[in-house]
Symmetry: C2
Subunit: 415 residues, 2 copies
Amino acid sequence: VSAQRPAASLVAIGDELLAGRIADGNSAAIAARLSGIGFGVRGFAVVGDDLEQIAELFSRCAGRDELVIATGGLGPTQDDLTREAAARAAGVELELREEVAAWLRGWFAARGRTMPDSNLRQAFFPAGADVLENRVGTAPGFRLRIGRGTLFALPGPPPEMSDMLERAVLPWARAAWPEREAAARGEFHLAGISESAFAERAGAWMERGAEPRMGVTAHTGVLSVSLLSRGAAAEAVLAARSAEFRARFAEEIYSDEQPDLAFSVGRILIERGVTLATAESCTGGMLAARITSVPGISAVYRGGWVTYADQAKQRELGVEAELLRSHGAVSEPVARAMAAGARRESGARAALALTGVAGPGGGTREKPVGLVFCGLALDGELEARGWRLPPVGREQVRTYAVNAALDLLRRALAR
Amino acid sequence: VSAQRPAASLVAIGDELLAGRIADGNSAAIAARLSGIGFGVRGFAVVGDDLEQIAELFSRCAGRDELVIATGGLGPTQDDLTREAAARAAGVELELREEVAAWLRGWFAARGRTMPDSNLRQAFFPAGADVLENRVGTAPGFRLRIGRGTLFALPGPPPEMSDMLERAVLPWARAAWPEREAAARGEFHLAGISESAFAERAGAWMERGAEPRMGVTAHTGVLSVSLLSRGAAAEAVLAARSAEFRARFAEEIYSDEQPDLAFSVGRILIERGVTLATAESCTGGMLAARITSVPGISAVYRGGWVTYADQAKQRELGVEAELLRSHGAVSEPVARAMAAGARRESGARAALALTGVAGPGGGTREKPVGLVFCGLALDGELEARGWRLPPVGREQVRTYAVNAALDLLRRALAR
């Protein structure tokens, strides 16, 4: 890590993390933000509620890195040891901050409660610390010099952490290292392309030494691609590659900010006023649940059917018994008929239908686990597509199928 | 950490973890298994694909702890540096294992492919390492003595990690420290009780010094409780507390192994042959999706409706317009009528219906965000319940509502 790229270490604190009762999502979120403003993130540590171990970690990280960001351990119970550990690492005492005590009492009073004595712990801070206001919960954070480094202690709950990070940590870090190397970070989310097909078309952009550096993650049917550029021309280099990227993957990109494909598709439906209905067999309501996770979707979503049994496909969607007999429920003609039925019954402009073999049982030689058909009825048009998804587990096959269906609709709306 | 409680450190390796593209779920899973057999887990570290940093971490951890378990960095690319870092930390060279190279060639041949040259990297191991077979993927693991500690290097993909952990690491660790303190771990999953109500009824069991030690995590409507007992009488102490726990929380416990409430309810439905249908408004298919995530549920699940619009509630479920007008869609009478309609239309013995205000918009003074009603029709009986869930966000309200509905059904089936 060069002098122009200040180093940062992240420490997540809590027995619940060590025990696996909660996963540490904070560190990765903080790391992405820090690397995007030119810091070099060395690593994360996860440690339990153990005073000595936390203090030792703080000393070691602050003796090595410019910035140490800790999350958790700021609550009112005896297990919350971040304040004490920081004081120990800095070689200072804890002291009561009357203004914080008053604020805490006010917080409880405003809710018609008396502050429990234990919460007074949250008003003690290492001498010399700057207290950071918590606008979301009760646990204030703090900033403290330890050796050559600066420790930021943030609350563990993600909404509280995130608010304090954006408001107190990042502006301070930007100002404290004005000479740091410039950096710029961007991302794209793609659907309808496999990781290997993407790697082939991205070519040299993906090489380890490439600038900007590219990272790709596949999530059951969608890809998230991050671009990180460093150096004086970071912004310009990122902008140039982003423009090339948009051109090369014009059909596949569905968003440059929102990783959830359902949100992108839902946004288009709402903006264009395209009404939608769904009919699902193997995905059992998952497509409807994803679509209805979009705020405001009630303006266009007309409803859906979970027609697990053949009988329900006939009764609710008017799929003909003969079609089911001759092709089987998992077939392109049945996917089409389900979509057509859902559109007709609901009166929506568009209808998506899914039928497939999610597994683990029910697969045959002809119709193996992972075989999925999607039907789409859009105004006068009726189309269908089939996929043989990798039989990687029931929930993955279902998630994959839902993403494939959403992408089919997205592409049809783009035509 | 006493001599009877061997210490373990976990190291997760990969740029994709540091960048937040993947979350490290391996460490928590390994920690839970290790603490359950009497190890003291000191902490986790997450580090990028950086040879020096990985080697330095291995040296430090192995110099301090009996057991170091690393995950990731065993693939065929130049970014996969775990083998080299371990060799460096142990002060040995990498050497080619012909038997592994032959196995890798065979793996590719069996799939009709020629092994790419790069995969030969996976046949090089630190001198003195014991190679661990990978029965799930291509990346073998290894065990290596470093200083006073023992390093296990496992592949990063969770199914591969998990198989190697159970088969190669835990049996070895049990045998290598026969004198270690005994430990026993158990868990319970509860529904229909808040975290604070649980804490009150659990009382002294939850105190920090209590034996067994209890940990509780709340997940939108369900609680997971872990019990960890240590010492010679660990098994007996755990068994006694577990029996008391079962008695005290008899109504709330739905499983002692499966955290997913839908699985427990689905299992009961399948075992007893109770057919089910669903009708959803605010949860938009989420209840159906959860139920159909249970393998084998097609034997009893008759299907569902997502009746987002009032029109759909009338047309599909026969809810009367007058009922919707006088009580509003989010009301107990409408929840009942939806359940009754779903049962009648589907011919199922049981039907669950949900209607509510998921937010973020749509709340009023009388019907705020978080207000949810669930209707249950079971044979001749018709009941309904309402909740005012905390308005913690659309997806959480919906998840909470689904769990509340599943619990209502679970309790009705237990009567």
